[in-house]
Amino acid sequence: MSFFFEVLVAGLLSGVMYALVALGFVLIFKASGVFNFAQGAMVFFAAATYAGLQQEHHLAAWIALPLALAAMVVLGLAIERVVLRPLVNQPQITLFMATIGLAFFIEGMSQMFWGSTPRGLSVGVEDQPFQWLSDRYNVNVSQFDVFAAVISGILVVLLALFFQRTRIGRALRAVADDHQAALSVGIPLQYIWAIVWAVAGFVALVAGLLWGARNGVGFSLTFTALKALPVLILGGFESIPGAIVGGLIIGASEKIAEVYLGPHVGGGIEGWFAYVIALAFLLVRPEGLFGERHIDRV
């Protein structure tokens, strides 16, 4: 039983990490209707920039962090200006394909700047189990996972406050609701989009640091985005709580399936199991758990 519990907790905690990446997608989708496939590449770029600044230029963390954040904000603004603004009013699927191109571009760019050899990254918390938990209850829970979950929780609360309590947050929700109506009451659309992309860059940086500290900063970080996609379709593209709940469900069921189902079919099912769960959910609720139901009109 304690083993099951251990697997469940590990799954839930890694689910929080998925949710963190998914959050970046949701933010942009809510505000601009763009499904940003480049989020994974942005996570990679953020982590590579931070690790590169710290290790190649020997900067202290408190200098490297704001610099990396600045780089992400500039990147977000540049994407908004160069890619999205000319594509306003195009079908969503066109925007999606543009972000696939963007993902390739950012991947190439970050490897060109920071090299393609993977680096280690430390955020000061080791990936070791809590001693007292394993001593007393014989349950291994990684300190790092808990740390990551706490950071993610703080981030979600901050974003929720930002969306609900601030003037800009209100404008963001208005834009998400209806572009035209938002424009007509005088909300500057492009300014809002720029902010959203900058915030998404910030979320990517946090996700990049946590994922980078866990798995190393390398090209494989871009695959975190692929992990976040089933989370999104399960939770619904428009919902921040959906991203969190979806992340938890995917993380837990994936780990449990890997441990209990994996040995029967040869293992390695983590790669696709999440998608199958998400698909099963979609057959019941095509807009995801918390997504908005759209009515088609001719």
């Binding site: 696939i100 191109g101 963007l102 390739f104 490897q111 390695g268 979609l282 095509p286 995801g288």
Partner: protein, 362 residues
């Protein structure tokens, strides 16, 4: 002056519905086919045939398949490479386990297998659309590659799923020179392209386009959505499956499931976007473009490196080319989507329109 259809009158419906209604087009296409079949195999050297022409043809076929699904029927798929893998492994197993099956039949059956798998993974398209569907097709991509690696039966118990294809035999003759492989590939691709061109002009193709433009409206005018969408997935996967079989047999010779990555799927999607969505010609243009760009980049960075080394005693880092390739691909996709969403095929059309008037201003 040369490219005018003035004076070409159509007196029958059949003449009016030709694939190429303009005489000059017909002559040009026939000339192109003649050159491709009769001149190129004699003129092109081994490198050109096996490193450029054969892959361009095979990728054209795969891009054509994806174009039917994405460009004509409007269902975005990110699992193209997986359907190619199904075709490749189906062909290998058919050849291995059924004795004396002729090669054309092997290709057709491989395509049919891929079509069946494609139709199964197309089932979610009945409920979901847009990028929900795109994400769902990723399930196909990961699941199929995983299954091909995990179950050794597919690769006849070879380690990590690597297969080395059998020799291609056609009517008792072994096709082993690049020129023979090229001719075989060209024949298959030409036939399938002709079939696709006609299919897209038929009620099937028009139903696809209606579903693409607005599926609710299509359903209202009596197009069966389920059948049309599944058919689009099946036909598209058939083309991808045949392309995958050719990819294994005529191009690489040795393939493994992990060679059919998501990256390959994206590359084929790029061919469709750059070539032109909803255009048969575009699939060919896009495939040629995507195959040639890395080669061009490689040659130009090598040249630049030579110049830099002799002039400044300084050389570019080795990984530059691959990173530059990523950036160029990404940049081009964005560029095309912004500037010319209908791709190279549209540029070609604009060029033809201009040619009709040339040299007069109006």
């Amino acid at each position: 002056m040369l490219y005018r259809e003035a004076g070409q009158f159509k007196t029958t419906y059949a003449a009016d519905q030709q694939i190429f209604p303009i005489r000059q087009d017909r002559i040009a296409v026939l000339a192109l086919v003649f050159v491709a079949f009769a001149v190129v195999p004699w003129v092109a050297n081994q490198y050109w045939l096996s490193a450029i022409l054969i892959p361009v043809l095979i990728f054209s076929l795969a891009a054509l398949g994806l174009n039917i699904l994405t460009g004509y029927a409007g269902q975005l798929s990110l699992g193209t490479a997986a359907f190619m893998a199904v075709g490749a492994f189906a062909a290998y197993n058919l050849d291995l386990r059924v004795h004396g099956l002729p090669l054309p039949l092997v290709l057709v059956l491989a395509g049919v297998f891929a079509a069946a798998v494609g139709a199964v993974f197309g089932l979610p398209s009945l409920r979901i659309k847009g990028f929900y569907l795109a994400v769902a097709t990723l399930a196909a991509q990961f699941f199929i590659v995983w299954a091909l690696v995990k179950f050794p039966w597919f690769s006849n118990d070879s380690s990590s799923g690597v297969i080395t294809t059998q020799k291609m035999r056609l009517f008792g003759k072994v096709l082993d020179t690049p020129a023979q492989k090229y001719l075989f590939t060209l024949t298959v691709v030409a036939l399938l392209a002709l079939a696709a061109k006609n299919m897209m002009r038929s009620p099937t193709g028009r139903a696809f386009m209606a579903v693409r433009d607005m599926d609710v409206a299509a359903a209202v005018i009596g197009i069966p959505l389920m059948r049309t969408k599944l058919l689009a997935f099946a036909i598209s996967s058939f083309y991808c499956g045949v392309a995958g079989a050719l990819y294994a047999y005529a191009y690489l010779g040795t393939v493994e499931p992990e060679g059919f990555t998501l990256d390959l799927s994206f590359r084929i999607l790029f061919m469709v976007i750059i070539g032109g969505m909803g255009s048969i010609l575009g699939s060919f243009l896009g495939a040629a473009f995507i195959v040639l760009v890395p080669i061009g980049l490689n040659v130009s960075t090598q040249w630049l490196n030579g110049v830099l080394q002799s002039g400044l005693q300084w050389s570019l880092p080795g990984s530059l080319t691959s990173n530059l390739e990523l950036m160029v691909f990404g940049g081009l996709i964005i560029f095309f989507l912004i500037v010319e969403p209908h791709g190279l095929a549209r540029l070609w059309q604009v060029g033809k329109e201009k040619l009709r008037l040339w040299p007069f201003p109006h």
